[in-house]
Every structure is written in structure tokens, then in C-alpha cells.
């Protein structure tokens, strides 16, 4: 929040005082202008970067989505043709929407539950707790890395470690990453495994809950479950809400694991054709850059819409301890 210091209004009524005040204002105005200018100068590198690298290309892609531009040849205005094709004549598009929604619907709740569960276990101060927090956070440091996806591919392949372990207990495994029925599950598992970032946020949120609430609950004879439901969850709901929005957007943008596991094809049988992967294939392998731009804008609109929807529902379940003042 910006803090503005408003000068005290001039208290005198005499002409000279007015004149002096006006002079002062002018001087102050000049100084403020100068300061503003200096501010913009210091801001310039970042601002230029934002304009040149983010804002202009983003807006340009909106223009491109109304053309038939292909990667290596210029296009011309075609109006809504790309959007019409997307919604009416491209079964692949709808398939990728289904795959992405399935992925998000399963991965986000699982990941958040895992993060919250582990955060609950790790938030009490014990000896060596820092080590455990670090260990649980470790996987998410590796992020959406290519190396990790390759490891995943090996671990869940026909002769991989998972099937090796299953064989020890007499279960005949399956080629998890090469089977269209299970490959999306392995990607979900990869996402869930990287629960570190929301976990850390949950830990911070848990620390914010005043201990007297727990003490009061204990005095009232509330058990663990009751305390969790009536104290922890409501007090944590703003943090849950924050994590939820972040993770939903994250899930919509998932790309690397699907790209690596399927060698950039979205296979087997299009089971890993996530929205962003489809977008990438359209733009860079099939050269349909205008179509890919249109897809990107629909993704943006969908993410914005979903976030707005979550905000609307938040009034029913998100509890702000400052009395709902937002």
C-alpha cells in the first residue's frame, strides 16, 4: 500500500501567505516531478523489458490469433476462423481439454491434501524437524525438470523399478508410462510428489494460527478431529484458497513431464496430450502458430474464468480472521 503524505493546508489568509504557499507548491511540484522522472528512469530497464518481452508479444499474439500466420510464412486476417475451427472442427482440441481437466481435477486436490497432511505432521517444533522439512521440500526443488521426467519414465517403464518392486510381492506390473490407461496417473503422481511449495506455505499458515484457540478448544474438550475441523481448517482457509488458485493455474500449465514422457508426441494414443503440449505441437511441429496463439488466449481466458469462479465461491468457505474485511 502506498503511503502519501498530504501537506497541511495553509492556515493563513493573507495574500503573501498565499503567494508563499503557491511558490512552495510549485517547488514541491517540481521536486515531485523530478522524483517521478527519476523513478521512471530507475524503472526503465524493467519496464522496457516488460513491454518488449512480455506485453507487446502477448498482445501481438492476440492479433496473430485472428490471422492464418504460420511459423515460416506470414499470414493475413482471417477473423474468427481459428476459434471456429478450435470449437467446431478439431477433435484433438477437445481431447486435449478433457485430458487437461482430468489431470487438474485429480492432481490438484491430491497435491494439496498431501501438502497439508505433511505440513500438519511437520509444524510442531521437535528436534531435527528442520531436516525433515528440508527433505520433504527437496522434490519440488527439482521442479518440472526434464531430468526428473526422464527418471519417472524409467522408473515406471515395463522393466522399471516399480514393476521390480511389485514383482517381489508377486504382482505382475504393467508398463505404466506406455499404457494410455495409466500414463496420466504417473504424471499426476509426479505432480503430487512435488508438494513442497504448497507445504511450506501451509506451514507458514499453521504458524499464524493463535495457540490460544487450540488451548480454548482443548479446554472445551475437543478431540483432534474436532480441533482440525473447527479451528485449523477455518483459520487456514485463506492459505488453502491461495494454494488452490496457484495449483489450479499450475496444473493448466503442466507441460514438461508430458512432453518428456511422450517424446513430444502426447502419446501413447494421445493419453498425455495436455493442453499446453497440444499448443506446442500445433505451433512448432505443425507450424500453425496463429492457431496456437488462439489456443493460448482461450487457455488464458479459461484460467481467468476459473479463478474468478473460485473467488466467487470463496465467500462461502474462506474465513478471514479480521472479520471478512478485504
Amino acid at each position: 500500500m502506498a503511503v502519501t503524505t498530504t501537506p497541511a493546508p495553509p492556515s493563513g489568509t493573507a495574500q503573501s501567505r498565499h503567494a508563499a504557499a503557491a511558490r512552495r507548491r510549485r517547488r514541491r511540484g517540481a521536486a515531485a516531478r523530478q522524483e517521478r522522472a527519476a523513478g521512471y528512469v530507475f524503472l526503465a530497464p524493467w519496464l522496457l523489458g516488460l513491454l518488449a518481452i512480455t506485453a507487446i508479444p502477448t498482445l501481438y499474439s492476440l492479433y496473430l490469433s485472428f490471422t492464418n500466420y504460420e511459423l515460416l510464412s506470414p499470414g493475413h486476417w482471417v477473423g474468427l476462423a481459428n476459434y471456429r475451427r478450435m470449437f467446431g472442427a478439431d477433435p484433438k482440441y477437445w481431447h486435449s481439454v478433457t485430458v487437461t481437466l482430468t489431470y487438474a481435477l485429480v492432481a490438484v486436490p491430491l497435491k494439496l491434501s498431501a501438502a497439508l497432511g505433511v505440513a500438519l505432521l511437520l509444524h510442531r517444533e521437535r528436534r531435527g524437524i528442520g531436516l525433515f522439512r528440508g527433505l520433504f521440500y527437496l522434490p519440488s526443488l527439482l521442479g518440472g525438470s526434464v531430468a526428473l521426467a526422464i527418471v519417472w519414465q524409467a522408473v515406471f517403464s515395463r522393466g522399471g523399478a516399480v514393476n521390480g518392486a511389485l514383482a517381489l510381492v508377486g504382482i505382475h506390473g504393467r508398463p505404466w508410462v506406455n499404457d494410455p490407461d495409466t500414463v496420466l496417473g504417473t504424471l499426476v503422481l509426479l505432480a503430487v510428489w512435488q508438494f513442497g511449495a504448497p507445504m511450506v506455505i501451509f506451514l507458514a499458515g499453521l504458524k499464524q494460527i493463535p495457540t490460544e484457540l487450540y488451548e480454548a478448544a482443548a479446554v472445551d474438550g475437543a478431540g483432534w478431529w474436532r480441533t482440525f475441523r473447527s479451528v485449523t481448517l477455518p483459520m487456514l482457509s485463506p492459505v488453502i484458497f491461495f494454494n488452490l488458485i496457484l495449483e489450479v493455474i499450475h496444473a493448466f500449465q503442466a507441460f514438461t513431464p508430458a512432453y518428456v514422457v511422450s517424446n513430444g508426441t502426447g502419446g501413447p494414443a494421445d493419453a498425455t496430450l495436455l493442453y499446453t503440449l497440444n499448443l506446442y505441437i500445433q505451433g512448432f511441429a505443425n507450424f500453425k502458430m496463429a492457431y496456437a496463439s488462439a489456443m493460448a488466449w482461450i487457455l488464458l481466458a479459461a484460467a481467468a474464468l476459473l479463478t474468478a469462479l473460485l473467488f466467487t465461491t470463496s465467500r462461502f468457505w474462506v474465513h478471514y480472521s479480521d472479520g471478512g474485511e478485504r
Binding site: P91, D179, G267, P268, N286
Partner: protein, 440 residues
């Protein structure tokens, strides 16, 4: 220009002074570096650096390094900045990105998957004014002479020649007491053979690769029936019934246990040599190109054999395995043409290149390097030479959109293999999407 040391962030006054001292050393050096290259521009021979880009395995990289070094040795003013990638899929992704940014490499490798795309979109330099003068194709066989021409332009010059080849694992077949697949066997015989491998090995080895997703296998199969994959004007030359029959044939083979489970087929469908059933010893055949024996042999201790794809060898043709192409935006088109001519016609270059990309396009070079080839490459050459005269006509260059068609065929075949669709449904879904891909 050599990079001068950068001042560290958040400098103190003393820090600045020491940095200035360090810069004092760096700047003259940097200036000297700039002066060096501009001065040599005035002394006659202009220094030229060409960026070269190709895909392939390590072997190809070693060979290409050597052959480019040989060119520099003969023309010291020309040097090369080399870049290569192992997989042709990511190769094309990167090439298209570079080309869109106007910074495509001066000299790059293409194959039928990219030739029409890059020539029609004027990314590939039109070599028409060089072919016949600076680039000689007189010694090329007829089938390769015009191989790189698309719609009146010449987008590439054939770098080598190959043809589809069926590889098989002789060692395993012998252990099972079966006879090797041979050129001229029918598709049905191959399926029977695959089923026998499965039975005789008690289910340990999955007979033959299922090439339903492989456009070149489909193309050979179509050509044997007097049909084609594409018409000369870039439309499909087969019907939905043809494709249904093709997919149904392989679904039948799977039912007879002649082919492996769908996930193994999927892994091999990448076309990656190291993921073929022969390399992983899960099966005994691989549907590849005739120049890939040496790469394939590296991954296995078993003896490998070669045959044509099943059916009449007329379905096959001598094709340009790859093309050398230049970038239309390059500042050195003459040098590019000279390097291409060197790569395809120079006997010393031919000796270094061997048969790694396929047979040398220049017949004289092909004959002269024969004796110096490695054993695996000699087998490839003998295989292909024996077929000369049996080949069918050269098919039209695939239209732009072919890359997408290839991927859609993999989707269609896999949806049948994973039992997500019937052959008829997969075929009609393929034709709908693929027709849109090549017509837009």
C-alpha cells in the same frame, strides 16, 4: 569479440577502481579481436563462417566433424559452427524456431519430412542456379538427380541414397530353429513367422514389429497394390478402405500373437534406433532404412540380417535419405553451394562419409569408397546394390503437412493397438484430420 570481464553488481568505489583496472586489460584485447576479423576482410580471401546443423547419432557427428574439417583444410578461409541433435523430431522443432527468427543455420540437413515444407516456405535456398554449374549432379543416378525439387524450386541436393529395410536378429532366429525372413516373402508369411517366434520361444520373444504406425511401411504396402501414399499434387492417393484394411491386417497379426503388446510397439514407434525391438531384444524385427545397420548393430551383440519389406520389392524405391539445404537468408550462398558440391562429389569427403547417411549420391564416389567401408556399411551397400533394377518408380515428394500426417498415423495405429478404436473408426478419424493437415 571476446567477452570482457563484467563489473560485479553493487560495486563499491574501491571495487570500481579494481574493475576498471581489469577492464583496462580486457578492452584492448577485445578491440584487437574486432580489428582482426575486419582487417582480414581486406586481404582478399574473405573469412566465412557457416553454421551447420544436422540430426543423427554420435557416429554421424564424428564423421561430419571430420568432413567439414577437411573442407576447411582445403579452403582455410571457410570455417564451420556446428550444431547437431540426436532426435529428428526435436531437430525440426528447433530448426523451425530458428527459421522463424530469421536465424536459421546456413547449411542444414533435411529429409522428405521437411523438404516440401522448407522449400515452399522459402526458408531453403533455391539451389536451381547452382545445380548443374557449381553443384554437379551429372554422376548421380537418375532417381536422385531431381530428388530435391519441389514446385519448380530445388530445395535440397540429395546427400545420400537409401531404401526401406527390414532388419532381423539372425542369432535369435537361429536359436529358435527358424529360417530368416527374406526379400520377397509375403506380409502373411511375416506374420506367420512372428507367431512362430512367439510360440517357439515360449512367449519370451515377441515375433515381428507391428509397423501399422509406420508411414513408409504403409506406403510400400500401397505401392505393391499399384497405389500410392500421395498424388503428385499433394493429396492422399488411397481410400479409407485401404487404411482400414492395413490397420485390420495388423490387428489380426496381434490376435495371432505375431506382434508385441501395444506398449512395446509404442516405444519403437519413435523410430529411435535404440528403442527398436532388436535393440531391446524383445522381438526379432525392425522396420527402418537401409543405412541404419551400423547404428543398429552398435546396440546389440547379436548378428543382424537385412531384407526388403515384405511383398514385391517393386514397392520400394531408391530415395534420397537426406538432403543438404541452404538458408535463403544466408549471406554466403556461393560458399554454401561449394560446400554442398564438396560433400556430395568429392572422393575424399565420400571416403569419410562412407555409407552412414546412405550410399554416396555420386556413383563414381560410391564405387571408389566401397572397399574402405566398415563391415556393417558394406552389408548395407551390398543389400541396396542387389536391389537396383527391382525398384519401383520414385514417388512424389510428400506435401507440406506430412509431418503432421506421420503423427496422425501413429495416433490412429496406436488407438487400434491399445484397443481404443476399431480399424474402421481409426481410419476415418485419421483421414478427416490428415486431409485437413495437408490441405491447409
Amino acid at each position: 569479440m571476446p567477452a570482457s570481464p563484467e563489473p560485479p553488481h553493487g560495486p563499491t568505489r574501491r571495487h570500481l577502481l579494481t574493475t576498471a583496472g581489469a577492464l583496462g586489460v580486457g578492452v584492448p584485447l577485445a578491440l584487437a579481436g574486432c580489428g582482426g576479423s575486419s582487417k582480414s576482410g581486406n586481404t582478399g580471401a574473405t573469412k566465412v563462417e557457416l553454421a551447420v546443423y544436422w540430426w543423427g547419432a554420435q557416429t554421424r557427428a564424428d564423421i561430419t566433424d571430420k568432413v567439414l574439417a577437411l573442407y576447411t583444410q582445403k579452403h582455410p578461409e571457410v570455417t564451420f559452427k556446428k550444431q547437431w541433435l540426436g532426435s529428428s523430431t526435436s531437430y525440426y522443432d528447433k530448426l523451425s524456431t530458428m527459421a522463424a527468427g530469421g536465424s536459421a543455420p546456413d547449411l542444414f540437413q533435411l529429409d522428405d519430412n521437411g523438404l516440401a515444407e522448407y522449400t515452399n516456405r522459402n526458408v531453403a535456398l533455391d539451389l536451381k542456379r547452382y545445380v548443374g554449374s557449381k553443384i554437379s549432379v551429372d554422376k548421380f543416378p537418375q532417381s536422385l538427380r531431381n530428388a530435391g525439387s519441389v514446385g519448380g524450386k530445388i530445395g535440397g541436393v540429395a546427400a545420400a541414397e537409401n531404401t526401406p529395410a527390414l532388419y532381423f536378429d539372425k542369432t535369435t532366429i537361429k536359436q529358435l530353429g527358424l529360417t530368416d525372413p527374406a526379400t520377397g516373402m509375403t506380409w502373411e508369411q511375416l506374420v506367420d513367422f512372428g507367431a512362430q517366434v512367439f510360440t517357439k520361444s515360449a512367449g519370451k520373444t515377441y515375433g515381428t514389429m507391428d509397423p501399422a504406425a509406420d508411414y513408409k511401411a504403409l506406403q510400400v504396402w500401397l505401392r505393391q497394390q499399384g497405389k500410392e501414399l500421395y498424388t503428385p499434387d499433394g493429396k492422399f492417393a488411397f481410400t479409407v478402405d485401404d487404411l482400414t484394411a492395413w490397420l485390420a491386417f495388423w490387428a489380426g497379426a496381434a490376435a495371432k500373437k505375431a506382434t508385441p503388446p501395444a506398449d512395446l510397439i509404442h516405444t519403437a514407434n519413435t523410430g529411435d534406433v535404440t528403442k527398436q525391438l532388436i535393440s531391446t531384444k524383445k522381438g526379432v524385427t525392425a522396420f527402418l532404412w537401409s543405412n541404419q545397420l551400423s547404428a543398429l548393430a552398435k546396440g546389440t551383440d547379436h548378428e543382424l540380417g537385412m531384407a526388403t519389406y515384405p511383398g514385391d520389392a517393386k514397392g520400394q524405391w531408391a530415395r534420397a535419405s537426406m538432403y543438404w539445404a541452404g538458408f535463403s537468408g544466408s549471406k554466403h550462398p556461393d560458399t554454401i553451394a561449394d560446400v554442398i558440391n564438396f560433400l556430395v562429389n568429392d572422393p575424399d569427403a565420400g571416403t569419410l562419409l562412407g555409407a552412414e547417411r546412405g550410399l554416396a549420391p555420386n556413383l563414381d564416389v560410391r564405387a571408389s569408397v566401397k572397399s574402405t567401408l566398415k563391415a556393417a556399411d558394406q552389408t548395407s551397400v551390398a543389400f541396396e546394390s542387389a536391389l537396383t533394377g527391382k525398384f519401383g518408380p520414385t514417388p512424389p515428394v510428400p506435401p507440406k503437412g506430412h509431418v503432421q500426417v506421420k503423427k496422425l498415423l501413429i495416433d490412429a495405429a496406436e488407438s487400434v493397438q491399445f484397443k481404443k478404436a476399431t480399424p474402421a473408426a481409426a481410419a476415418s478419424s485419421f483421414l478427416g484430420q490428415a486431409t485437413a493437415a495437408i490441405s491447409s
